[in-house]
């Protein structure tokens, strides 16, 4: 775990930082705040870049070839055949590297040049971020990023409190409180700060975001420091005018940068396969070399020895064996084109092109934030077509992280839906007119509500409605902030509460101010102050919170909100009818994936309350068992409540999330949710985005604290699944047939189970002895949700799957807490827009909305994979066909390494004559268009199964290439053995053979690519016909009189093309060769498509038939049908209420303290509730609405919900 993030190797045992003492701090030479991610500068670029390029095996291989070619005895080709392409490759790569580095320089510069206010020599001066140094005191203002890791000294708020948003760091958007040491909190002005000369001794830089230990030595006193006093780089200051801090860690040593991890070089599986294949080809090359070398030895000893009359041996070549040895090297040079250097360049170009297509896709452009999809790496595109596991963050990725008050049920009546004149529910869209809140001057303009009935009810002064909103305005822990008259800003610990209070505000019950003892509302324009008598705080066992207030009339009221089950249990029996109605409403809300709360109130007797209050005061001083006693007391008074209604908050999923998930699971992609959020929230989202559908037979929740317990739970869950399936399988086998494959059962198993695992259990489960159990179980389940996980754990889960399943993983997230997982997964995707840029910068792809993932994978990924595979198949075929002709010729030229072709042809074949058509194919080819790719997610499966290019496919195309080379040589051979020109002159010479075979080859590979292309655009036409034209143009140009006159020894083929291609018989040979080379492949592919059509073939046929037909949307919006109502989530945090009632953060109060972090919930009882309630909801969830015929069912679903 440690090793995973280990970066800095130099040892720093302890850090000494003295405020306002640059000279002192300079002694330690700590890292400054300058950030450098670039690799080169102008001078180092060439040497370093070349060095890096020559670390690639391929480049070294070509360099070795080049050196071999310089040795005259071996050289069978001129040096230019290799150096041209090599220089081209190096140049292209260098340009690309330089561009990348330029952008890194720019981004570095931008960050480094941000302005920050630093206290230097008695005054605040604007300094660039990069000039901030350890030991400096800097000032941060509201909404500014913190430039370095600083120790909070003082702030504009009382007691040195300040609020920060840590979204960049851990992805949590709720505000956090930080508090300065009391001793430093009054250093509020510059002169005092100037005199501050405390020294901090603390731990060396590390990556632990939530830990800091150190001591401040000042005025001969020691003050312990912890994380609560630190502001880390990347945080944003909120609701605090300003604060001052002492820089402890800067630049690369900040926790943020330490957490960035090393950018590991990601490689796709295809690339690895290519590398393996290249090694195989090398072995094959060596084999051929050996065969030909042996042939040469035999030939030289049998024939060559006697042929010395005309061709004497060289002086040093006195034995046939030595000649064989030299021939071996010569053949290695000739046959090297089976591993063409242009392969690597072409692959790079293709990927770059595919990346651009992703960048250019308008269907992945989000207009609201003006962000287009962006491919940051150009090396992973084809891997997008092979993804099997998706690891998704929740907040900001699946959800918008915006809570919206969307519906409510008041006194048995629902509000929030709108109906048209035929009493049918109308879908709410952006165009729907929303309620006008202009009657309320204090309203929040961003709040939107569509059902005007509720406003009518308010205006009619319906008592229940008034009480409902009064409750919402009173019973919460929100802090108000009124900057100017009427400009209210709420500081909510949880977005849910914020949403509820904002709703109350808009409906005329404006929460305006609070003191520890009072709450001031503005009820329908009238200021009312309530006395806060008691606050029965929320915790995860109680699952509710209540306040007891005295209204101006002197009545004491208890307002309670909480989980429906809990509230319903404590209702007064007289409320039963209302309870049933409300319960139905709650079910309906829950089916729509809303987060629900039930609201209830109660009038209290003055006397009863006094008695209870006394008991409470007593209980709160008890030392033993205080919590329990308090809880009992709370429970005692929260009885006999009167139900007011229920609220439904939408944790707004991003648009299209359920559809995307449904579609991706149809493509056999498993989606795991890894979130730092609480289990309830996580599961709620699971329900609302169809990951935990109703027909899920069991949800296993692992939430234990010790290794043994976790192990036991994992084991029993696994046994449960396997045991059940065994029972059912034996039954099935008896009933149906004996030949059922196991995997079929595995499929059925996967459809039914879900695993939810907690962070602390995960810590144990990820240990080596348990990880296999975890993985097995997780893979048996359809859905896996990990909640309360740390960034590191996210990475570990991804790593686990990556390591043991050998599947392609994709991680998608939006916050800095997802960075580790994004970097670990094969492919990292960042959601840009919501929570800062960390994830986006670490990611390989980024876009604004989760739903674009389906297009990225099912369209772009699939195409990329398809194109890359087609490209590779054709490329290998082409090069085998091209090169092996030389092998066959070896048998007829005394194994002397004589090439069939002109040297120029060898130089230009791969780079000029055939590169563009195959590039065009690799860039533009589409077997199935994008609509159909999305419509039939099953088309994605061949990628996951690696079907389009694997070792078998490689052998097939190699075989085809070898066959073609055989025919390419032997048909001209047959014809040329007795060939005579039309004017009788001899015509069976080498140069004619070379031109004939070369022309046949170019035509054959062009025809073959024509057959391989599925999508003939104008570009394909241009490139194919263009390449043929260019071939003939260059052929005639290089064999023209003019160029021969200038370089007679370089272009010895003068006139061959003219003499050769003017012969009818040559064209007959070329035609014959072409037909014979192409027909076998054609027959095979026709038979395959005709007899065993793949889904792709079928879709293509269909596409052809109804090219113009309208495309119906087969996957309609999948409506929520789950009954996960009791899985309702509270985003409350325990302890915050305490902070408020105690007044610790109120300006007039005295004792400052620190809020305790929220505790993790333990109970798992509600899961049983889920299972119990499961039967109550009968609405079938037809999730797998795949075919168009299913859309009918999808349309009916909402209706059914109503009748339900």
């Amino acid at each position: 775990m440690e090793a995973f993030w280990r970066r800095n190797s130099h040892v720093e045992k302890e850090r000494h930082v003295k405020a306002n003492a640059r000279d002192y701090n300079d002694k330690f030479s700590y890292a400054d705040n300058h950030i450098k991610t670039s690799k080169y500068n102008v001078f180092t670029f060439l040497p370093i870049n070349l060095f890096e390029q020559f670390r690639r095996v391929a480049n070294v291989y070509f360099l070795v070839l080049l050196i071999l070619q310089i040795i005259p005895e071996i050289s069978s080709l001129s040096w230019f055949t290799t150096i041209g392409p090599l220089v081209l490759v190096l140049a292209i790569t260098a340009v690309k590297d330089a561009t990348d580095d330029y952008f890194r320089h720019k981004s570095d510069q931008q960050v480094n040049n941000r302005q920050s206010q630093v206290l230097i020599r008695g005054s605040l001066q604007n300094e660039k971020w990069m000039n901030v140094r350890v030991g400096d005191i800097i000032k941060i203002e509201n909404s500014q990023f913190v430039a370095a890791d600083i120790l909070l000294l003082c702030s504009s708020e009382p007691y040195g409190l300040c609020y920060i948003e840590t979204a960049e760091l851990d992805g949590e958007t709720n505000l956090k409180v930080r508090q300065a040491l009391t001793i430093t909190s009054d250093l509020g002005d510059i002169t005092k700060l100037m005199d501050f000369d405390g020294e901090v001794i603390c731990e060396p830089p590390n990556n632990k975001l939530d830990k800091f230990t150190g001591t401040l030595y000042w005025r001969d006193n020691e003050y312990p420091l912890d994380n609560e006093k630190m502001l880390l780089r990347g945080c944003v200051l909120r609701n605090t005018e300003w604060c001052f801090g002492l820089v402890i860690y800067a630049g690369l040593q900040t926790k943020l940068m330490q957490n960035c991890g090393k950018t590991s070089f990601k490689r796709t599986s295809i690339e690895k396969l290519i590398n393996t294949l290249v090694l195989w080809i090398l072995a094959f090359l060596i084999c051929m070399g050996v065969i030909l070398a042996i042939g040469n030895t035999i030939w030289e000893s049998q024939i060559g020895r006697n042929f010395q009359v005309f061709l004497p041996w060289n002086e040093f070549q006195r034995s046939a064996v030595f000649s064989g040895f030299l021939t071996f090297w010569s053949y290695i040079i000739i046959l090297n084109t089976v591993v063409p250097i242009s392969l690597y360049v072409s692959v790079e170009v293709l990927r770059l092109g595919h990346s651009y297509f992703i960048n250019w896709d308008r269907k992945m452009y989000y207009s609201q934030t003006d962000t287009a999809a962006e491919a940051h790496t150009t090396t992973l595109n084809e891997e997008l077509g092979q993804v099997e596991f998706i690891f998704s963050d929740k907040t900001g990725t699946l959800t918008q992280n915006i809570m919206v008050f969307s519906k409510c049920s008041i006194n048995g009546k629902t509000f929030g839906d709108i109906y048209n004149e035929y009493d049918q529910k109308v879908e709410i869209t952006e165009k729907t007119a929303c309620v006008d809140f202009s009657f309320n001057p204090l309203c929040d303009r961003r709040f939107k509500f569509y059902d005007s009935n509720l406003v009518e009810a308010i205006k009619l002064e319906d008592l229940a409605v008034q009480e409902f909103f009064r409750l919402l305005a009173l019973c919460h822990t929100v802090m108000p902030e009124e900057k100017s008259e009427g400009n209210l800003v709420y500081q909510a610990q949880s977005p849910d509460e914020g949403a509820l209070v904002t709703a109350a505000r808009n409906f005329g019950f404006v929460f305006r101010a609070r003191t520890p003892e009072t709450i001031t509302l503005c009820e329908m324009g009238r200021a009312v102050t309530y006395q806060l008598l008691a606050k029965l705080d929320f915790n995860n066992e109680r699952k509710r919170m209540s306040v007891i207030v005295r209204n101006p009339e002197g009545q004491i009221k208890l307002y309670s909100k909480g989980a429906d089950t809990i509230i319903f249990d404590s209702l007064d029996p007289s409320n039963e009818d209302l309870m049933y109605t409300t319960s139905e409403h709650l079910d309906e809300f829950a089916r729509e994936g809303l987060r629900t709360l039930a609201l209830a109130y109660k009038d209290l007797d003055e006397e009863d309350f006094d008695v209870w209050m006394k008991k409470l005061l007593f209980a709160s001083t008890v030392i033993e068992n205080r919590e329990k006693q308090l809880a009992d007391l709370y429970k005692e008074i929260e009885q006999g409540l009167r139900l007011l209604g229920a609220t439904a908050i939408e944790d707004k999923l991003q648009e299209g999330v359920p559809e995307t998930i449904a579609r991706l699971s149809l493509a056999d992609i498993k989606i795991w949710v890894l979130t730092g959020d609480k289990r309830e929230t996580a599961m709620k989202i699971g329900y609302s985005c169809n990951m935990l559908p109703d027909d899920m037979s069991e949800v296993f929740v692992i939430s234990k604290h010790t290794v043994q317990e976790v192990q036991q739970e994992l084991r029993s869950a696994k046994e449960h699944i396997l045991g059940l399936s065994r029972v059912s399988s034996t039954g099935d086998v008896e009933k149906t047939n004996m030949f059922v494959v196991d995997s079929v059962f595995e499929e059925t198993i996967i459809a039914e189970y879900a695993l939810v695992i907690n962070g602390h259990s995960l810590a144990h489960a990820l240990e080596p002895q348990l990880e296999h159990v975890l993985l097995d179980l997780a893979c048996l389940c359809k859905t896996v949700i990990c909640c309360r996980v740390t960034p590191l754990q996210k990475a570990q889960v991804v790593e686990l799957v990556k390591r043991h399943k050998g599947a392609v993983t994709l991680a998608i997230g939006d916050g800095a807490n997802d960075v580790s997982m994004i970097k670990t997964a094969h492919i990292g995707v960042g959601i840009s827009g919501q929570e800062g840029m960390q994830a986006v910068l670490a990611s390989d792809y980024s876009f604004a909305q989760f739903r674009y993932l389906q297009r990225l994978l099912l369209v772009h990924g699939r195409w990329s994979y398809f194109r890359m595979c087609n490209f590779l198949r054709y490329f290998f075929y082409k090069n085998f066909a091209f090169t092996l002709v030389n092998f066959w010729y070896g048998f007829f030229c005394g194994f002397s390494a004589q090439t069939v072709y002109d040297q120029w042809f060898i130089t230009l074949f791969n780079s000029v004559y055939t590169s563009l058509p195959v590039l065009a194919m690799g860039l533009f080819d589409q077997d199935v268009n994008d609509q159909n790719s999305l419509r039939y997610p099953c088309l994605y499966k061949p990628g996951q199964q690696n079907l389009l290019f694997n070792k078998r496919q490689f052998f097939l195309c190699m075989l085809q290439g070898i066959g073609t080379s055989f025919l390419l040589f032997f048909i001209p051979y047959g014809a040329f053995s007795v060939m005579v020109k039309e004017d009788g002159s001899n015509f069976s010479d080498q140069q004619t053979l070379a031109v004939t075979i070369a022309t046949s080859l170019v035509i054959v590979v062009s025809v073959q690519i024509g057959l391989d292309i599925h999508y003939w655009t104008a570009v394909n036409h241009l490139f194919i016909w263009g390449s043929l034209t260019v071939y003939f143009a260059i052929l005639f140009a290089m064999q023209s009189n003019g160029i021969f006159g200038i370089f007679p020894s370089i272009f010895p083929f003068i006139g061959t093309a003219r003499n050769c291609l003017s012969e009818k018989s040559v064209w007959l040979v070329i035609l014959l060769t072409t037909v014979v080379c192409v027909v076998p492949g054609l027959v095979v592919s026709f038979l395959r498509a005709d007899l065993f059509p793949t889904l792709t073939d079928k879709v293509r046929h269909q596409q052809l038939r109804k090219r113009e037909g309208p495309q119906e949307q087969n996957l309609r919006r999948v409506r929520r049908t789950s009954s996960g109502r009791s899985a309702k989530a509270f985003s409350h945090q325990q302890g915050f209420g305490e902070l408020i009632t105690s007044g610790k953060n109120m300006r007039m109060n005295t004792v400052p303290s620190v809020s305790s972090p929220g505790r993790t919930p333990h109970s798992s009882t509600w899961i049983e509730n889920v299972l119990k309630r499961k039967n109550r909801v009968s609405c079938a969830n037809d999730e797998s609405t795949g075919g168009p015929e299913n859309s009918e069912i999808a349309k009916q679903t909402p209706k059914q919900q109503h009748t339900d």
Binding site: G304, T369, M837, A897, F924, R1058, L1104
Partner: protein, 389 residues
């Protein structure tokens, strides 16, 4: 690392710091072009029975007639071949190839009679054929200097290294250098018609027009052409003849336009054969101008092969086993042939192409039938009917 997320955040209505470059208002929305959206209009061919099967039949129907035409044409070409290597005791050339004394200066001549069954009309082409002769060996192929052969004076005096070991002799540059030139075929073949009345008429052989025009006029040039007062002898001054040659290169032919590097026999030889068994055009027998008589009427003919000692004494001694005085092919089991042939529109006799075309055509037609049957029996005709997810 954190880039410009400043302006992305605008919560609570606070005015946020405008990041650098925040003034650019151009939308990042990608352009809606067919190219960028991958919607380029395209032809999407599919291999269907409707397209593939007719293709096979068409190929069959085109190839079979071509094949028959080629086969018939090839069969109509008359060709006569004589092997005069002299391996057998019975061969008339056996004596010459075995017993010819190398220190004799008189050439040895062997006479081979043959009978032409059919008259040969129009131009008749006379080839010499060699087999098992590896003119395509890499070291042999590159052993030439094209600059020198193109008349370059520098290369004439300093032949390319590629020509080694035939670049210099006795410190003089060899012209033409290299193994190809050195091994030039030098048997002299003469044809006689034995008139039925008993007279032996020598058939006139033309050695002009046997090389490619481009070779003769572009690729090969004598050095010093165009310079005043320069004849070939002076142009080649300071060079020496190839070791195997009897005469220097400027004495290859009496005619000035066929002497030196542009000697057509030489050019023909220099165009190296692709395969170890090859034939090269030796002479043309022009058809008589009146056109009434066949060029070579049916009857008896005699081929006279004149062997000329080609090798120097030294070399002969080095190669102790090479005692053949004629153009030496027997050491490596080579064969020498003389071929007489007429030609047609498709060149010389070439049964391979015709047969190959007929075969391929028939196979394609047959495949078409087989595929048709397979398609009808078990082909998946309702392809898209059962698309399921």
């Amino acid at each position: 690392m954190m880039a410009s997320s400043y302006n992305a955040k605008d919560e609570d209505g606070h005015i946020t710091v405008t990041g650098p470059g925040g003034g650019t208002l151009r939308s990042k929305k990608p352009e809606n072009t067919a190219f960028k959206q991958q919607r380029l209009p395209a032809w999407q061919p599919i291999l269907t029975a409707g397209t593939v099967l007719p293709a096979f039949f068409i190929i069959g129907l085109i190839f079979i007639p071509i094949g028959i035409g080629l086969y018939v044409t090839s069969n109509n070409i008359k060709e006569f071949e004589v092997d005069y290597t002299g391996v057998d005791m019975s061969s008339p050339c056996f004596n010459c190839s075995q017993n010819f004394s190398w220190n004799s200066t008189t050439p040895c001549t062997c006479t081979i009679p043959f009978f032409l069954e059919q008259p040969y009309e129009s131009n008749v082409f006379m080839y010499y054929g060699l087999s098992n002769f590896y003119q395509n060996h890499r070291r042999y192929v590159k052993s030439r200097d094209d600059s020198q052969l193109n008349g370059d004076m520098t290369s004439l005096k300093e032949p390319s290294k590629e020509c080694e070991p035939y670049a210099y002799h006795d410190n003089k540059p060899i012209a033409p250098c290299g193994a190809i030139a050195n091994s030039m075929f030098n048997d002299t073949l003469e044809l006689f018609y034995n008139d039925p009345n008993g007279t032996k008429v020598q058939i006139p052989l033309t050695n002009i027009g046997i090389a490619w025009w481009t070779d003769k006029h572009v690729k090969f040039k004598n050095p010093g052409v165009g310079e005043a007062n320069q004849n070939l002898t002076t142009a080649f001054q300071g060079t020496t003849k190839p070791l195997n040659w009897r005469r220097p290169v400027y004495e290859l032919d009496a005619a000035a336009n066929n002497d030196g590097f542009i000697n057509e026999d030489f050019i023909v030889w220099m165009r190296t054969a692709a395969l170890p068994t090859f034939r090269k055009l030796y002479r043309i027998i022009k058809s008589p101008s009146n056109g009434m008589m066949p060029t070579m009427p049916r009857g008896n003919y005699t081929l006279e092969v004149v062997y000329i000692t080609t090798m120097s004494k030294n070399l002969r001694q080095n190669l102790f086993n090479q005692l053949n005085p004629d153009y030496p092919v027997r050491s490596f089991e080579g064969r020498k042939r003389m071929i007489l042939s007429t030609i047609s529109w498709m060149g010389g006799k070439n049964p391979f192409l015709g047969i190959a075309y007929i075969t391929v055509g028939s196979v394609c037609f047959f495949l078409g039938v087989v595929l048709l049957i397979i398609h009808h029996k078990c082909g998946n005709r309702n392809n898209s009917a059962d698309i399921s997810n």
